[in-house]
Subunit: 244 residues, 2 copies
DNA sequence: CGTAGTTACGTACAGCGTACGTAGTGGAGT
DNA sequence: ACTCCACTACGTACGCTGTACGTAACTACG
């Protein structure tokens, strides 16, 4: 394979050397480009991330970007890796796997809040980027005190991240909608609740009406999130006790 | 507001009357258009769904589609509602909420397998389409025997659907990648495993290496899925027993 | 020291969502 | 019965996208 230009076969971008032996010294680095793309996505949303826009932000010609990033999908991979780098791991786990995993989950949510486009890019395809590997290694370390087999640990991590992604997506969807819509959030909200009220008034969905009207008052997002994570961990802890 | 043309305010498509009082009889229906879009997405992937393509499939001019569907996002909403219509609900729940919810989850997974683009469109924005309401109403009915408050029931449904979406996304990502990539699945797989092996051979990620090499043999997707759902249900059942 | 491989980047193409304008249709109000 | 105008249908056009391809400059290796 060649270090740039069209690849001769399917390639993971991380397998490409960043600098080829021959030719002029590249004017930019992957890290620079990733940072530029993240900047654009944070400021203008994921749809604002186009090759032209990122190239401009990086300070190079549009097509020069393709020397660093063969396909747009690879740019996404760089972006995810760049934000996964924001995790801060202690020198060693505390020994309390539950607390350590919960802290990890809080960090995941924090990253997604800082970079609302992350949930949309979540995919197993990005599971082997350098920083994802760092994350995975630490998570496995933190789980050493958890008495279940390796497969179950992997399943636990997958479920935690799945739940977090789903939860934060819901959390952010209103905000993201507001960013895109030409109307004010109040107008949007008003239109939706008006519609729902009209539907429920029809009486065709009595259980739903009851559930939505006599809903509980507790809506603190942090609490809902913590509760969700706790429930997932509960399930696996029970399994560990059963197994040992 | 007017029934077609640019809306005068933010609108849910379901609040628009399908047929206006005045003017010529529309040549197509929402159902027809949704079916056409679903056909295209099933055959060519979600990226194949363009307004032009769907219009052609429906048999009308590109811009005529905008009489039925003001924005592309609304087309997505029609598509999701169309596949949510595939749920088959019994006349009444069995009384065993666990079994009923599990059956519902299996149906969700089935729908996502038949329409691999569904996970990408999962969003709370689609939670109030007519068929989503039918789903929600039945699910609440099925949970009448579960002794937790309404808020918890909503959280359970959200978590189940989140976990299913994440799980099926993982399940499908390889297939979807194969559909898009110009290389054979074997080539893709070979490139990825070669890369991972090289990384793990470096010794920087010992726990990960151990986990991946001495992984368990049980990989039956149906089992992994059932186990995940069961664990979620376990957590909530425990909570119900604690509460009552 | 040539030369092959790399970097840089402009041009060009096919496709996208959709704003806008025009023509024709048919139900509601007089 | 007749008029009016909201509505349907649809062609054209604009600005945007990802990226294939060609060209020119540069540098490390044989």
């Amino acid at each position: 394979m060649t270090a740039s230009g069209r690849p001769s076969g399917p390639e993971v971008i991380w397998a490409r050397p960043e600098r080829a032996g021959r030719g002029p010294r590249p004017a930019h680095t992957r890290a620079e480009i990733a940072a530029a793309a993240v900047r654009v996505a944070d400021a203008e949303g994921l749809d604002g991330v186009s090759m032209r826009r990122v190239a401009a932000e990086t300070g190079c010609g549009t097509m020069s970007l393709y020397n660093y990033v063969p396909r747009k999908e690879d740019l996404y991979e760089l972006m995810v890796d760049a934000v996964v780098a924001e995790y801060e791991f202690p020198d060693a786990p505390s020994g309390d796997w539950r607390a350590d995993l919960k802290a990890l989950c809080r960090q995941t949510r924090g990253i997604m809040h800082r970079h609302p486009w992350v949930p949309r890019l979540m995919s197993p395809a990005h599971g082997f980027s350098p920083n994802a590997l760092r994350y995975f290694e630490y998570a496995l370390w933190a789980m050493e005190g958890l008495d279940v087999d390796n497969g179950t640990k992997v399943e636990l991590l997958a479920m935690l991240n799945g739940v977090i992604t789903a939860y934060v997506s819901n959390e952010l969807s209103t905000a993201e909608r507001a960013r895109t819509s030409p109307y004010s959030p109040e107008q949007e909200q008003a239109a939706r609740t008006a519609y729902i009220m009209r539907v429920l008034a029809g009486g065709a969905y009595p259980r739903m009406a009851k559930t939505l009207t006599e809903g509980p008052g507790r809506f603190d997002p942090d609490e809902v999130f913590a509760r969700a994570i706790d429930r997932v961990l509960d399930g696996f802890e029970a399994e560990s006790r059963r197994g040992s």
